[in-house]
Amino acid sequence: MDRRKERIDRGVKARSVDIFALTSYREMIYLLIPGAVPVVGLLCFTPLLSDYWREVIISTAIYALLAMSWDMLMSAGLLSLGQSLFFGIGSYLAGSLNYYAGLPPILTLPIATLLGGVICTVFLLPVLRLRGVYFAMVTLVLPLMLSRLVEATRILGGTEGLTGLTSFPNQLTALFIIELALLGVLFGFRRIMGSDYGLVIKGISDNDRSVMSAGLNIYWYKTQVLFLGSSVGCFAGAFGTHMDMFAGMPGFALDYSIMPVAAAVVGGTGTFAGPLIGAFILVPLSEMLRALGALRIVFYGLFLVIFVVGLPEGIFAYIQRKYQQIERWVDVS
């Protein structure tokens, strides 16, 4: 007697489709829990942690933003191996505005985000016409070169960077700002990609010829996605600048490029919640492994390889599957 594995939706999932979810509290709770977990967890629990762990959460949130930015770009088929490009540009923009023009964070953050998004988009515009791998190559190379450029020409503070910048009034404020940003980006991006617009974007990644022949200018859409992704990355950089009260070459560090990719791959690309989960796993983990120094990046690298090859769908997709469906062995007669 042969058996096969059957996978079907859970009862509660099938019942909570569309408006029927309103028929009972159980269905509504089932739908709301996944969304509530990050909101409650972040906004309610994290302020209760010690100063040290709040610091860790903030750092994690920054990486999570970079990871979600990466995921947005990836949805359109743009593999970014240089998230640090956005981080660094956002960082320098906010830092310069603060250092040279004396603007407070409440102004530098939005300006750096939007202006940074524009600058990065313009930088990368020519590469949009080419295959995805070119985008990967250029994004890998650019931040490393810009870093050396700063070192060589000693502009914007050179190797020392811009120091003594304004910081946030207190840690709690910083925590809330970054967490609100995180939740905003998470739910916002998921909403966007779940709509018909998101379908178009994913279509571009899947079969761009088909989208072209449907009367859509794929380069315009890629540009929009690039702007969205890079703005979020620049925000992370700008925020980080005010957290550390410093803007400099380390903003273009490889760490900011690799961690988001590893987090996204571990958590599950294309889902935005996956990169968030991935970041919340990897960053605290690496914090605890801090004593190992360079081994940290070795881990990121290995995680990247193992997950790309072994569990390409990522942790979030796995959890989602378990949450929504049951698997069981069924006799095949």
Partner: protein
């Protein structure tokens, strides 16, 4: 012969790829509401001609005019917005999506919005209606199946629906009948005839000559990138040049 501007006019169209001339000095007019069949041996430049008209490939020389406007060298999205849509020989839907979701992308295009008076409306509903028009049985819920699970006959119809979704004035069908059984072809022909009665202009590239000749108003034969004959189907098949192209010449 004609006192109105032809819907599509192609003049001296040429395309060379490196050393190969795929299309050479192609010229023809197409009146509104007519169905033009384009036939010819493989490699005669039929698909390249389509790519040139729809903007996927830029011509080396020549002009293309649509509704009196010059569209030579326009990118595909602009050509589509003007009112030309096409199907692809190699059908590649979004396999992971249900069939009707495949139509969301064309329904998202600016042209559809413009024609609907500035609003999109419910794309899902429009998609389902379109699929019903091309023969996806509504009560069998075929439209909800993943595109990857559909047989070729349905995929071809999905491709046709995608091009119809754009409400084009000119539809170019690139070997729509290829890979289909006689029964499947007979079920699609009425859909094309209905498009004709709706006033659409159609170009059909085909190898299935019998089915094509039944619905084509005029036929054009290509060989080695050149037009070697044009006219009524029966006339064209009598032409010696065409016979030689398809069957070869006498051995000496």
């Amino acid at each position: 012969m004609t006192d109105r501007v032809p819907l599509l006019r192609v003049k001296d169209l040429t395309k060379t790829f490196g050393g190969v001339t795929a299309v050479s000095n192609m010229a023809f007019d197409l009146q509104e509401g007519k169905l033009l069949g384009v036939i010819g041996p493989n490699g005669s430049g039929k698909t390249t001609l389509v790519n040139l008209i729809t903007g996927f490939v830029k011509p080396t020389a020549g002009r293309i005019e649509f509704k009196g406007k010059e569209i030579t060298g326009w990118p595909p999205y602009k050509v589509v917005s003007e009112g030309i849509s096409r199907t692809f020989q190699m059908v590649r839907p979004f396999y992971q999506l249900p069939a009707y979701k495949n139509l969301i992308v064309p329904l998202y295009s600016p042209r559809v919005k413009k024609l609907a008076g500035g609003k999109y409306g419910n794309r899902d509903a429009v998609a389902l209606d379109l699929l019903e028009e091309v023969g996806f049985e509504r009560d069998a819920y075929v439209s909800y199946k993943k595109a990857g699970a559909l047989p070729q006959g349905y995929l071809k119809r999905l491709e046709l629906a995608k091009s119809m979704a754009l409400r084009p004035d000119l539809i170019i069908l690139d070997e729509l009948f290829s890979g289909l059984s006689l029964a499947e072809v007979s079920s699609i022909v009425p859909i094309i005839e209905k498009l004709k009665t709706q006033g659409k202009t159609i170009i059909m590239i085909e190898h299935r000559l019998k089915e094509l000749f039944r619905i084509a108003d005029r036929v054009m034969v290509l060989n080695y990138g050149r037009k070697i004959a044009e006219g009524q189907a029966t006339q064209v098949m009598e032409s010696p040049a065409v016979k030689e192209a398809y069957l070869g010449s006498e051995a000496e």
